[in-house]
Symmetry: C2
Subunit: 301 residues, 2 copies
């Protein structure tokens, strides 16, 4: 078989995601149909259909989610911090315009309100139209969906949230500011006492220098910073990382069980055993972690 793999998803064609590792490793996706394509003010947006992968959201050519495996990412981003916090009532999602993280957050019975602040309204519209199962909670009574720049929104918030979830795309394009120290100073200020923030934090395999830099400033800013992993087969390398920053509660001391866990219903990925296991990192991640993180997450010293 020999096919042309290109930078634009085409019906019946093989689409090549922009490769990583200096262009040496990439994912190829067979596309049945292009359901939607738009150049928004912020990025190039595609929704395609791809056989058993279901529907796929692409931003600037990078796979954001497939309806086949999206629960892994959304459940681990939401439930790890929400089941670590003793009583999360107010939650903020920055990014996450597809609605998958919001859908998981509103499952928590004690929640009072979840604000979702997405910079690109077209992502929200595309998800509502083409991925109704992902966008299912957009009209939930406890959800407030805002189309606004997260960098500006967070500056106005002060001690407002129990949990903040940064559900961003890669650190190019509109999400760039969400990986820098100024933003995280604002995130810290926006948390209530004892609050937690978790951010999409890429993969050590492909974003080592970025993560080394991030964990450097996060460790100086928050009392507790940890890195944890979820398995997402449709992301290159199959692993996505999350940076967890806490003003108090410790995810490794949490014992998720009982009524709060049962309230989430049947999950596709998260389990209480994985809640802990996700923080056990390969030895080679040592070089990207701060000393405090390595001591806890690699069992050193």
């Amino acid at each position: 078989m020999s096919q042309t793999a290109g930078g634009e998803p085409r019906e019946g064609g093989l689409f090549l995601e922009p490769p990583e590792l200096e262009g040496y490793l990439g994912l190829a996706l067979k596309v049945d149909r292009v359901l939607f394509h738009k150049k928004t003010p912020f990025q190039e947006l595609h929704v395609v259909e791809a056989g058993p992968l279901g529907r796929v959201l692409l931003l600037d050519g990078a796979i954001q989610l497939t309806t086949w495996d999206e629960p892994a990412y959304h459940e681990m981003l939401a439930h790890v911090p929400l089941l670590t916090h003793p009583d999360p009532k107010r939650v903020l999602i920055i990014g996450g315009g597809d609605g998958g993280t919001l859908r998981e957050v509103v499952k928590h019975p004690g929640l009072q309100r979840c604000d979702l602040c997405e910079i690109d309204g077209e992502v929200i519209e595309a998800a509502r139209r083409f991925m109704p199962g992902v966008a299912a909670a957009m009209d939930h009574a406890k959800a407030r969906v805002l189309v606004e720049d997260g960098l500006a929104f967070i500056k106005k918030a002060e001690a407002s949230y129990d949990v903040i979830l940064v559900d961003s795309s890669d650190p190019q394009g509109p999400a760039q500011g969400l990986f820098g120290p100024d933003f995280y100073r604002d995130v810290k200020k926006a948390l209530k006492p004892g609050g937690l923030a978790v951010s999409q934090a890429e993969s050590c395999n492909f974003f080592g220098p970025l993560l080394k830099d991030m964990f450097g400033f996060l460790g100086g800013l928050f009392p507790l910073t940890l890195y944890y992993l979820a398995l997402v087969p449709t992301y290159l390398g199959g692993t996505i990382g999350f940076a967890l920053n806490s003003l108090g509660p410790d995810p490794l001391a949490a014992r998720p069980a009982g009524r709060r866990l049962a309230g989430l219903g049947r999950l596709r990925y998260y389990t209480p055993a994985l809640h802990r296991a996700a923080f056990a990192l390969p030895a080679g991640y040592r070089e990207f972690l701060s000393d405090a993180m390595a001591r806890r997450q690699l069992g050193e010293g």
Copy 2:
């Protein structure tokens, strides 16, 4: 960027690994140089050079290992059972002609002998020539390297090994028999009392029906069968599974520490925390596991 991705690795070209999920998801690899190509009596063998991935061994077009990330697979296949067993002296590797698993096994100070039984002598020769860091232990005093069919070899062994490692390629071509019940009856017979066998067991994402079938007969054959995972970014989906079968020792009760762990030297992937964490599976794996496995590995019941 638009490039031709094809089924044959070519210099300066983009090579597309045979895709999974009905052909909808595949890995693309940029190739600098084809160092070696041979049609052996068993399979098509390539060794290529691919920038930061280093050297890559392909069998019938499927990536077997890259020198960039091979320690994850080899360390987890070898050290999880060897550090679970109280005193492994005799080890057998079936397959594993590249030598990476052997290299990890001979690190264990208490080892008396490790037999390696590879059906395709060309794999051994290619690894010796082009991947000396992987094939490093081929001439080790405790290693005995045999070019022979593992299915025939195992029939002759009786209560001979403390640990058997099945380091195979995918269940097409020469490795097919290594995924069936007849072979595992022979493996059980070849183990000493209290022995363990671990096999490369693909990914639930792409080989669900095969694994459901395998865990079905393994659960009836061995007192303890468990599934565990390692993260290998150059395998499609990023996760490889291992089937662990034990006549006694329980990997989740093992507490690897002290002299035996220190004897392994500096590892790139394995840690004692990962030894346990690797057995915590996503909830969705439920449908591929036996009831006994699900109870232990998903924390059910």
